[in-house]
């Protein structure tokens, strides 16, 4: 059961990562990056690394997403 879940998570991470690279809309790409972190943290939990999962969930999907958005906003302002 857990191996099926792990494969599903791995596939989801792959799809989201490709979305993050190739999507034209930067906002969607940033959201996809955050979702990669979210799925990866569940995968780390399955692989018996709860401390890494905690870090990934808070930094990978929380803090880095909002930092990306702040930077995007700033770049857009200075391009106008």
């Amino acid at each position: 059961m857990s191996i099926i879940l792990a494969m599903f998570l791995g596939l989801a991470i792959l799809v989201l990562a490709i979305t993050a690279i190739y999507h034209k809309n930067t906002k969607v790409a940033i959201i996809a990056t955050g979702a990669v972190g979210l799925f990866a943290s569940v995968l780390y939990l399955l692989l018996a690394a709860p401390d890494v999962a905690l870090t990934e969930a808070s930094i990978g999907s929380g803090l880095s997403t909002i930092i990306f958005f702040y930077v995007l906003n700033k770049i857009r302002h200075s391009n106008d």
Binding site: P50, D51, L54, T55, S58, I59, G62, L63, I66, I67, Y70, V71, N73, K74, H77, S78, D80
Partner: protein
């Protein structure tokens, strides 16, 4: 054509290298000597129920000091490059109103998130997690405050004082270990206590509280300086 051929060759080489690694991989049934040493002597020498913590804070404590320093330098550079602008630069702050759901939920969730962060770093020597994780969770709580109430201000002075005091405290615990016990960041100068108790493992809980506060205040500082720079233009 040649480009594609080289690419194909590279891919085949990749598959050959990784495939041979994968085929020859056999999970070892027993721990290697270093891991066995940690597993057998860790509880007696360090007194931490969580062996990862024993390695991170005591055996490899110097690495942790280096990581904390890296994070400190990163936060310092962000704060230096994004210098704080005056809040009253004559322009009205155009902030989009946040949704009521987020605002209401944040009043319930933010204290819970803070408490979870504190729990994680206080129990670092017993349960998974530790100073870094706890600090990051606390910074996530600050992020939620910023999202729910964009107009809220944070005290820069308080953040930097917390950050400096905990950094100095971390190094001071290391030096105390050097003087009173056998080496830098040795935790055995305080009583090790009973394995699994909250007050056990010598100085590890104190060091982790310092690391947690330090990481939390550094990440909060990064978020805060990015937030305050959004009002430009």
């Amino acid at each position: 054509m040649i480009k594609k051929g080289i690419l194909l060759l590279l891919l085949v080489g990749f598959v050959a290298v990784i495939g041979s690694l994968l085929i020859n991989f056999t999970g070892s049934k027993e721990l290697n000597p270093l891991a066995r040493y940690y597993a057998e002597n860790g509880p007696a020498e360090v007194g931490a129920a969580n062996l990862v913590t024993a390695v991170v804070v005591t055996y490899r404590g110097f690495d942790t000091l280096g990581e904390v320093t890296i994070l400190f330098i990163a936060a310092a550079i962000v704060g230096f490059l994004l210098k704080v602008l005056n809040a009253d630069n004559g322009r009205p702050n155009k902030l989009r109103k946040t949704s009521e759901i987020l605002e209401t939920a944040s009043t319930l969730l933010v204290p819970t998130i803070f408490m979870l962060g504190v729990y994680i770093f206080v129990n670092g020597h017993l349960t998974p997690g530790g100073g870094f994780q706890g600090g990051a969770v606390i910074a996530t709580g600050v992020m939620m405050i910023i999202l729910a109430r964009p107009a809220s201000q944070f005290n820069h002075k308080l953040i930097s004082i917390l950050e400096s005091v905990s950094g100095v405290g971390f190094v001071a615990m290391g030096v105390l270990g050097l003087i009173l016990a056998s080496g830098f960041l040795n935790n055995a100068f305080l009583p090790l206590g009973k394995l699994g108790n909250l007050l056990s493992a010598g100085a590890i809980p104190i060091i982790y509280v310092f690391i947690g506060i330090k990481v939390g205040s550094e990440l909060t500082g990064i978020l805060n300086s990015l937030k305050e720079n959004q009002n430009e233009i």
